[in-house]
Subunit: 234 residues, 2 copies
Amino acid sequence: MQEWWREFPDARPSGAHDRAGSRSPVAYVKAAEREQQIVGAAVNVLSEVGVPATTLRAVAAEAGISLGTLHYVFPSKDLLLQSVLTTVIDEIAATLRAGLELDKGVEHALRAGVLNFWNRLVESRLGLQIMQYELATYSLRAEGAGGLAHLQYERYTTLVTRFCEQAAQAAGERCAVGFDVLGRISLAVVDGLILQHVANPDSERSHRDLNHALDMLVMLADPQPVARVRGAAK
Amino acid sequence: MQEWWREFPDARPSGAHDRAGSRSPVAYVKAAEREQQIVGAAVNVLSEVGVPATTLRAVAAEAGISLGTLHYVFPSKDLLLQSVLTTVIDEIAATLRAGLELDKGVEHALRAGVLNFWNRLVESRLGLQIMQYELATYSLRAEGAGGLAHLQYERYTTLVTRFCEQAAQAAGERCAVGFDVLGRISLAVVDGLILQHVANPDSERSHRDLNHALDMLVMLADPQPVARVRGAAK
DNA sequence: TGAGATCTCGGTCGGTTGTCCGACTTTAAA
DNA sequence: TTTAAAGTCGGACAACCGACCGAGATCTCA
């Protein structure tokens, strides 16, 4: 038998360099696992080159699969981007939840939470943050996917709001403004500082601004211990 | 004579509505004027459909010129987008400067300035704001145009900083933090609230948050009248 | 074991985009 | 008036992208 594939060099199985006789079977993976593999590859590409410059071919190459397989798992580009956005949101939310201390009052939760977020998800993963703004604006323009940006900020604001609420309850404190307002404004100031940081990276200046912003947020919240903890319903 | 242009509706000269017989000469415009005409059309298209979906053909159609003429004035798309970004920055800066009262102290300047900006450039021109975030991220990705996002935020921060400084000096006040910090954080919180507003438009909530944010900014600035105005250099 | 479902691959196709060109028209300088 | 420069136009072209297909390989379950 001749090497039939020599006429179609690109058709050569990826494992053909193995010693003759050892068939290198095509990797068969469940679609569910493929999904997260592809999403991971997509996040890499998106973080590096940006949303507009990201092609399905680049994602497929990064994932080590063919364009056909990619299309088999994600029939359209929108579906892939939607999956990427929701995945990233969940991942960031989980990372935030992980390094959190909600038993030392609102001020400590706010300062520790924001600084932890900044060091773990901004300073070291700038491309990821830019990608989120790109995906947000992208979904705002896309007719059908306009709800994703809504969902994105809805998730983040409720997340921060809930954190503040839990921190206050755990430490027996009350705040001068509603937790929803506190959550949205906290998110807003951090968001704005991220934008300034990606546009003009300067860790020293950013940390200085961040600390001033945190002082300011604490003044807004003005957490005070409640006289008595009464009726702590569950 | 038949209406020859009916077969090429888009080729109809803009002056064809003149009475028959009057040759409708091709509009000849200096390149300098063409530039701002094209930039204006580009802003319209960009605000409506977004940066990634904006094509040179759409811009040319909006401007009422041919693709060739567009390419004659702006040899590349990057050049056009750069011109758009700088133009919009200048325009917004001018609008801000126009409706400003810098003689009633830092608090008044901050509140009036932010609310004026919000009502004139956010509430009624949402697409323009989204476009700016798109252009910022776009220039961050583009190799050669990476400096535009830098310039964009540099301009805005120095603008706000200078406003605060002038307001303080005019009213004889001092602030608890540096004017640069105050300017950057003010811009950050407004930026963040814009993002939340475009992702989930709700004028009532936005205005409520905005007022709380302004209270917070005023607390941060903590403007106090100086005892004596001494050595008012210049 | 065998038959259907699942998964993978390379190639292709229609459509779009940015860039460019040659010919023509108008303006402005000589 | 003559002539070069500036401006305009429609068309064309190469490149690229997303979507799609048919055929084959692999897995799964009865």
